[in-house]
Structures are given as C-alpha cells and as structure tokens.
C-alpha cells in the first residue's frame, strides 16, 4: 500500500501552483474553477521513495464537508505519511479555515496518527514586508494551539521568493530518518574526493536533502537556483521524450558533476580544482554510490522512505 503525502488547503490557496513548481509538472488546467466541483489530483510522482502525492481541495463549499468528510473520510486519510496543509494568508474566512483544518486533523488522528503535519502560511508576498513576521507568528501560535495533541511545523511561504523552496526542503529533511548519518557520510565523501561542495538532491523535486561545503559560498540562494535550472532542463528534455540523467559543467575555475546517486537521490559535486580529470571524480562518485545505497538499505522496514 503506497503511503501518501496529502497536500490540502482551501480552494485557491495555491496548492496546484505549488505542486507544479516543486514537482516541475505543467499546470494541468486553470486553477480557478468555475463550478463547485471538489477535486482530488493524484500525481504518481515518486517522492522520497514510494510516496504518492495527493492534492485535495478543502472547503469553499459545504458539500465538501458532507461528501468527503463523512463518506470517504477513511479512504482519504488512511495511510498518510505526511499532511501538508496550505493556508492563504489573505483569506477572509479565518474561522472557517481553522475549522476545516481541525476536521482534517481529527481524521488524521483517527486514521494515521503517526503522520507528520506541516502547515504552510502561503502567499506571504501579498503582505507588507514589515508585517510579515508579526502575522506569521500569530498564525503559527494559533495553529500550534489548535493542533494539539498533534505536533505541527509551520512555515511561511511564497512562490515569489526562496521561502517555498526552503520550506519544502525542510519538510523533506525532516522526513528522512537517518539524515544526520547521511550528512556525516557526505562530509567524509566530500573530504576524500577534495570537493568544494557536495549536494544531495531528492530525485523528483531537486529539493536539497543535505549538503556539505568546505568553505563559505557567496550565494545563499544557489540551491533553489540550481533546482530551478535543472527542472527547467528536465522540462525541455521531456518535450523530446528524453530524460535527464547526468551533467558535467566545466570551465577554467571549477567543474561540477550532477549525476544519479541512489534510487531516490541525485548528487552534485563541485570541484574547484579543474586539473582533476573528470574520470577520476566520476569513478569516485560511482564508488560512493554503492556505499550510500547500502546505507539506505540498512534502515529497517519501518523507515521505508528511502527504500524501494
């Protein structure tokens, strides 16, 4: 039974855009629907192993409550690994939003009590810059309070700055069970091959899972930029019915290698010594790959996130 990631939120809160951006899907259709249909979108994206992303619209109409929360509730909320709930910061119906959120939480508590809960306060670019922290803190407190006894982690996001990418990266980071061990191994790997920086990306979304850098880098937003560039490239590849596998970028100052690593990750190795031949680095990556795959398999069946 595939475990689910539920992406829920009110109609128009930005879920479809978010999903398109993170997973590099073309937007299926206009997100502003004319009718009162309530939709679920299954996307068979292999996210962090064997997770399937389900996108649900909550609320806006009372039929939602009747139809889904009563009759199909168990179906929806069973086997949920992660619940990501999206709040539109500009929503005028705070009470209703919280009400729906609480209903979802109740259902989660009943059906998948171990699920991790994340709340995204979205569209923060519409709030004035000097008020953003304040408003987010208020919402966070409310949500924390409402979510008891469950724990929820809150993020403020907007698709027009780096907060969306960071929030999803944090979510992915928290979903990986042995991430500290992974980071230590990554550091060893990087130091052995004398790399400037080594990044580990999640395969479907190119969200950075962990990274090691041996010195301060100038651009703090480089992860999102790399992710966007590669996702754009993947979109171009898919137009030609080709798929992206690996890339080497080289100039007189550096050499960067992006390659498949384990079954769920990509690795990016940045070498600032361009005299090291590519073949050497590629061999290193290949050898490391075996080691990291073993690491994944070591985890027991309970932590099934990175396993096949």
């Amino acid at each position: 039974m595939k475990k689910k990631v539920l992406l829920m939120g009110k109609s128009g809160s930005g879920k479809t855009s978010m999903r398109s951006i993170i997973f590099a899907n073309y937007i299926a259709r206009d997100t502003r629907r004319l009718g009162a249909t309530i939709d679920v979108e299954h996307s068979h994206v292999r996210f962090l192993g064997n997770l399937v992303l389900n996108l649900w619209d909550c609320g806006g109409q009372d039929t939602f409550m009747e139809n889904y929360f009563t009759s199909q509730r168990d179906n929806i909320f069973r086997n949920v690994e992660v619940l990501i709930y999206v709040f539109d910061v500009e929503s005028r119906e705070l009470e209703k939003d919280m009400h729906y959120y609480q209903s979802c939480l109740e259902a989660i508590l009943q059906n998948s009590p171990d699920a991790k809960i994340f709340c995204l306060v979205h569209k923060m670019d519409l709030v004035q810059e000097d008020q953003r922290d304040l408003i987010f803190k208020e919402r966070e407190e409310d949500l924390r309070r409402l979510s008891r006894p469950l724990e929820c982690a809150c993020f403020r996001t907007s698709i027009w700055d780096e907060t969306l990418y960071k929030a999803w990266s944090s979510i992915v980071y928290q979903l990986i069970p042995n991430v500290q061990q992974l980071e230590m191994n990554l550091r060893n790997f990087a130091q052995i091959i004398e790399a400037d920086e080594v990044l580990l990306f999640e395969r479907a979304t190119f969200l950075v899972i962990s990274h090691y850098q041996c010195r301060e880098q100038r651009d703090v937003h480089r992860f999102e930029k790399i992710s966007n560039i590669i996702k754009q490239f993947k979109l171009s590849c898919s137009k030609l019915a080709a798929s992206f596998q690996s890339m080497e970028v080289r100039n007189s100052n550096f050499a960067a290698f992006i390659d498949i690593f384990t079954s769920n990750t990509y690795v990016m190795v940045v070498m600032s010594d361009p005299s090291i031949p590519s073949a050497a680095t590629l061999i290193n990556i290949r050898n490391a790959r075996k080691h990291f795959e073993k690491l994944e398999r070591v985890d027991g069946p309970k932590h099934s996130l990175l396993m096949r």
């Binding site: 698709i159 027009w160 999102e224 966007n228 560039i229």
Partner: protein, 498 residues
C-alpha cells in the same frame, strides 16, 4: 528571481495567469530622468515590456524639447563671436557632427551582442568597454556638465530676478529709467550694456536722479551681482534638499512655452527693428564684425552643449513605437534643433540695430540687450525664471544621485552630506554670479569639457574598439574617427586660448 521567472514561464501556458509575476514582486523600474544640461529635465515613463508607445512625432518633439533650453540665449553672441557667415556654417556643421556622434551612441548599444543590454544607458556601455575607468570618467564629465549648467542657471536666475525686480519697482514708482548706457531711441529700445566698461557687462546702471533716497536704497538692496544672488539662496537651497524631485518634473511644459515665447519675441523684435546687415569679410568696422573671425571656437564650445543629448538619447529612443525609425527620427529632431538655433541666431544678429550700436554689443544673454523696462522681454524673463527655478532642483537631484550614489552607494546618505553638496553647488553659483557672470564663457568651457567625453571621444573610441573586436576596422574609418577625437580635444584646448 530571474531564474525563478524563467522556470515558472516554462510551467504554464501563456494563457494561464497563475504563474505570471505580479507587479509587487518585480522590482519597480527605477525613476528614470531624462535631461540635457542646458535643456529640460524631466521624469520619463519607462516601459518594462520593452517597446515604447510613443509615435515618431512625440519622440521627435521630446528630443527637440529636451535639447532646447537656455543655450538659445547665447547663440546670437556665439554667432557674433564667429562672424555671421562663419557662424551659420559652424552651426550647421556642429549639428551634423554631433548628430553623427549621437547616431554612434545609439548604435553602440546594439553592437554589444554578448550581453543583454535592454536596460542599458550610455554610461553602462562606457563601463562595458572601459571598465571602472569608463564609469568614473563618464561620471566626472557628467558632473562637469551638470554643475556647469547649474552655475549658468544661477547667473541667469540672478539676472532675471534682478531685471524683474527692477521692472516692477520702476513700474510701481513710475520711474522712467533713463539709462546712460548706449541705447536706441525708438519704441523698441535696444541697449548695449557693456559699451562703457569694455568687456564685463556692468551690473549697476546709474540713474541720475540720485537725490531720491528711496531709489538709492533700492539700488543698494537690489544689485545684480551683490545682493540678488544671495536672495536666491534662500529660495532655492531648501528646494535642493528634497529627496525626490518628481514634483518639479511636472513643470516641464514651462520649458517648451519659454522657448516658443522666445521665438515669438525674436520674430516680433526683428519685424520691428528691421534687418541691418553688412558684409565685411575680414576687417571689423565700427559697427559690424567681420564675417570670418578667429574666435569661432567660442561658438563651437557653446554649441557642444547646445546639441548635447548623448547621455539620454538611448532612453528617449527606446520609447519609440517603431524602433526602425529611430535614426530617421533622430535626424529630423537634430534638423529641427539646428533650424531653431539658426533662426534665433540669424534673426537676433541681423535685426540688431547696427547704425547706432555695434554688433559687438550683442550680449552673452541676448535678453540683456533689451532694457528692463521692455514689457515683452520682461515676460520672457519671468517665464525663464520660473522655468529655471523648476529645473534647478531636478539638476541638483541628478548631480546628487550620480555623485553620492557612486561615492557612498546611497543617494541620500544623510542630510549633512546632501546639505554640504548643495552648499558647494550653490556657493559656486553665487560666486560666479558675483564675479564672473559671463554665461557664454561658462557654457563654452563646460560644454567643451563635457562634450569631449560624451560627444567626441567615447562614441568614436567605442566604435573603433567594437569594429576592431569584430575585425571590421578599416583605415578610412579609423582615420575618420580619430579625426573626430582630435576635433574634440582641439575644441577643448582652444577654449582656453580665446
């Protein structure tokens, strides 16, 4: 943000509005000011989509409007310095030369193929080719032109304010101003202020009914070079300290009105005074100047600033709807400007009543040749005074933005920095107004200096370099453009010998 927008564009169809960047996340197009140092200055609506919406007519008018300004006042004097025929030829030739250099400026941006130059203005092109030296030198020359223009403005404003005050005082007290300066004796008096003092226009006119203590007091308190410049300080220094002068750019229409009124005034006076022309080729006579004089570089110095628009021509042409007509529109605008200058220069020179007065009397500001009691020129002075008072803070803002922005990185570091800068600029203006109020001199020095960089050297040098990079440099082109550079240098050097 750039990468983000590119990526989001790939995700959605053009019809879908969901992932189009809303206005509040896209950085606003900065305030874009278009100015010519002695012309107008105003805020330009910059279009982010790339294509402007101005028709050719509007573009031509905007170029003409920006270039036209206070340099008109010195053209007749320049023609007098060069001689009538030489003056006309020099005006036409300088127009052609500056037009060609302007064309080079416009083309220079398109010759950079490797980078996205859509938002570049000419100083950015200079920086691309010459590195930080290019940036600093273009900043320096731009400041020379701006501060020179502001000094000229101060002198002129003192002049106009003085004359306006005198007119109003005389009008209220019904004084018939019988100047001892040389003047014609008809209904359209023309005076020769510098006849008695040989060179410098004398700034105080002697009135013989000196027994009137009221007038004497007025004379002491209202003196063109001793007191009026200081009164202006109280008026204009506060205006200079504003953070954003967009309020002043609304008065741009005053510039056009002033120029049109000057044209009307000159035509009217010419009709009433008639033509007085005699052609002596090399030898000056008592009333006339020779047709060819060796002081013609003074005219070229003035014209360099009169035809100056090279610092913002790219921006002006960017807003043209049909970009392929850019060169044609530029040429038409320059032709119109040349014709306007020729018209004013020729008419003022030709109609200057030479039998009683010598042509040598034409002042560096030709309005000085009309007495302060003349109504028409009084109106002209009022217009120009108001227009200059609204352009002065804009020029100050531009000088401040360029200087403080490059030195401190912040265009408004603190009120003290801004105040000190403004005091320096205003102080320079006051000193010049008190001791050296020769606007012709100031214009030609600052014009030749600023024009050296922007008009002569940079366009030609950049063209040579870009051709060389593309291996298309031929000997004729090289020689021609080096010749232009030499002309520019000569223009500057020779100003100091005249």
């Amino acid at each position: 943000m750039n990468k983000r927008i590119h990526y989001y564009n790939r995700l959605s169809t053009p019809a879908d509005k969901a992932l189009i960047a809303p206005d509040h996340v896209v950085p606003a197009p900065g305030e874009c000011y278009v100015y010519s140092p002695l012309g107008s200055a105003y805020k330009l609506q910059s279009y982010t989509e790339g294509n402007g919406k101005n028709t050719s007519l509007v573009t031509i008018f905007m170029i003409w409007n920006t270039m036209m300004g206070t340099s008109i006042l010195s053209i007749p004097w320049g023609m007098k310095q060069a001689g009538f025929t030489t003056g006309m030829c020099v005006i036409i030739l300088m127009g052609l030369l500056t037009l060609y250099c302007c064309y080079r400026v416009v083309k220079s941006r398109t010759m950079i193929s490797s980078l996205d130059t859509a938002t570049w203005e000419y100083p950015d092109v200079c920086r691309h080719y010459f590195g930080s030296f290019g940036q600093w030198s273009s900043l320096l020359f731009s400041l020379v032109s701006l501060i020179g223009a502001m000094i000229v403005y101060w002198v002129l404003m003192s002049n106009f304010l003085f004359n306006t005050g005198k007119f109003i005082f005389n009008f209220i007290h019904h004084i018939n101003d019988t100047d001892t300066v040389l003047s014609t004796n008809n209904s359209n008096p023309v005076i020769c202020p510098s006849a008695g003092s040989g060179g410098h226009p004398d700034n105080s006119s002697m009135i013989f009914n000196a027994n009137e203590t009221g007038i004497q007091q007025f004379e002491t308190w209202w003196d063109k070079s001793k007191t009026v410049p200081f009164y202006l300080v109280g008026l204009l220094l506060p205006l200079l300290n504003f953070k954003s002068p967009s309020f002043f750019s609304k008065f741009n229409i005053l510039g056009t009105v002033s120029v049109l009124y000057l044209i009307f005034l000159v035509t009217f006076k010419a009709v009433h005074l008639g033509f007085h022309l005699e052609f002596h080729w090399f030898i000056p006579t008592e009333f006339f100047v020779p047709e060819i004089r060796f002081q013609f570089p003074q005219l070229t110095g003035v014209l360099t600033l009169a035809f100056f628009i090279h610092n913002c021509i790219i921006t002006l042409l960017k807003n043209n709807k049909n970009q392929e007509n850019n060169v044609r529109d530029l040429c038409i605008a320059y032709i119109l400007v040349t014709l306007t200058y020729l018209y004013i220069g020729v008419l003022v020179f030709a109609s200057f009543p030479s039998p009683p007065l010598s042509k040598d009397c034409i002042e560096q500001n030709f309005l000085d040749n009309f007495p302060s009691s003349d109504t028409l020129s009084f109106i002209a002075r009022i217009f120009l005074l108001f227009q200059m008072m609204t352009v002065y803070p804009l020029l100050g803002y531009l000088a401040r933005v360029q200087l403080l922005g490059h030195i401190f990185g912040d265009i408004y570091p603190s009120i003290f920095h801004v105040l000190i800068l403004n005091l320096i600029i205003v102080g320079a203006g006051v000193i010049m107004a008190c001791f050296y109020p020769n606007i012709g001199g100031i214009i030609r020095y600052s014009g030749a200096a600023c024009g050296l960089a922007f008009v002569f050297i940079y366009p030609s040098l950049i063209y040579i370099i870009s051709l060389h990079q593309e291996d298309r440099l031929t000997w004729p082109k090289l020689i021609f453009h080096v010749f232009i550079i030499i002309l520019g240098l000569a223009n500057l050097i020779v100003q100091f010998f005249m």
